[in-house]
Symmetry: C2
Subunit: 205 residues, 2 copies
DNA sequence: AATAAATTTAACCAAGTGGTCAAAAAAATA
DNA sequence: TATTTTTTTGACCACTTGGTTAAATTTATT
């Protein structure tokens, strides 16, 4: 149980909530203050401006999103086990933070420059790890050839989009097929892994 | 060459541009007026309020996004040909309007109610077409079993996400692998089709 | 307890914000 | 041409915005 009574942490929690729900342009400093249960001036006392406070949250979100990238592929395990671990980890993150991807992508669409200032080199350095191993598997004839960026895009798309479209798809699928969208999301780990496995694997005869 | 000299069309074009780039909360009526080269009051003369003008654009975007759904699957062709046609059509739409998906998803994340008012029944009615045919293929043992909603999510994810993450991925891939992201996007039609084909197809022996 | 430092607040401000309105300009009608 | 109608504009308004500041309050230091 982390104590949350200090105002700085209360502000950050409120800002996180409001910014992610409303976006930078839609969020109001007063709203954040109310959410944190403090005076609006105190926001400026702890964080100088709306933009500074937003930057803090934005970087935090970027870290959350990119955290799974490296760790899953650093261990020495068979290729498909790493893939599986990555999928599990990423879907857990998305389940806990379903609104992060659209928030993040929307903000960089509004203001791409913001991202340039915070891209840390090390975030995608481990991507080179997966790439070399992918190439090894391809060269060994164990999986079908595919360009690494495309594999990453395919995988990311199948992981992220179902969470992003939830507000649109949930009511549609409920009405059309009478399925609960949360059930769908819970099945994603297995589905994505099998789909990707079948797409890549070459059956040994 | 469509003439665009009438103010209503000029306003709509400007609103489209500004709303999609900035979002509802970030867009300014003055900005739209400037973009259209007219007085701000004229916006309210033609469209009563910011929200009304936005609704007009939002519905238009929704139509653009969902337009491919039906048409690709209505014709009587083999399953994978329909898939291929859908992929081609959808990537063409995204190439022409790369910012639509994030704009759309962001706005329904901010305000899901807006969508409920405009969801027209017929938009996903043809989805039932693809579902029945998918089931037929599965029952015939020609493709691997997969739940229809998951197949749709997999496909949509692989189609949409690469465009949505362009502002983030383009500089990263340029620096890390020295690849031009537009080349990547141009390869998507083929890649997605092959990936999906391999994931679903059962080789006849 | 007295004083200094840090925290919190209420009152306030300049700069926008969406929106209104009456008058000017242009177009249509007589 | 005169007049009515439609279109366009500039001036304006109430309200909200992020941000400031000085005073009040709490906390730490002596």
């Amino acid at each position: 149980m982390v104590k949350i009574d200090n105002p700085e942490e209360k502000i950050l929690e409120a800002a996180r909530k409001v910014f992610i729900r409303e976006g930078l342009a839609g969020a109001r400093m007063q709203q954040i203050a109310d959410e944190a249960g403090i005076n609006k001036s105190l926001l400026h006392y702890y964080f100088r401006s709306k933009d500074k406070l937003f930057d803090r949250i934005f970087i935090e979100v970027f870290r959350t999103i990119s955290i799974g990238m490296g760790s899953s592929f650093s261990e020495d395990k068979p290729f498909f086990e790493k893939i599986k671990k990555f999928i599990d980890l990423y879907i857990d993150v998305l389940t806990k933070n379903p609104y992060l991807p659209i928030f993040f992508l929307s903000e960089i669409q509004h203001n791409p420059e913001r991202l340039q200032n915070i891209i840390e080199k090390d975030i995608f350095k481990n991507v080179s790890g997966i790439i070399t191993q992918l190439m090894m598997e391809i060269n060994a004839g164990r999986i079908r050839p595919i360009s690494p960026p495309h594999l990453i895009l395919n995988l990311m798309g199948m992981l992220v989009l179902p969470f992003a479209v939830k507000p649109m798809m949930a009511p549609i699928l409920k009405r059309q097929l009478d399925v609960d969208y949360n059930d769908i999301l819970n099945e994603r780990k297995e589905i994505v892994y099998n789909f990707l496995y079948n797409a890549l694997k070459i059956d040994e005869k």
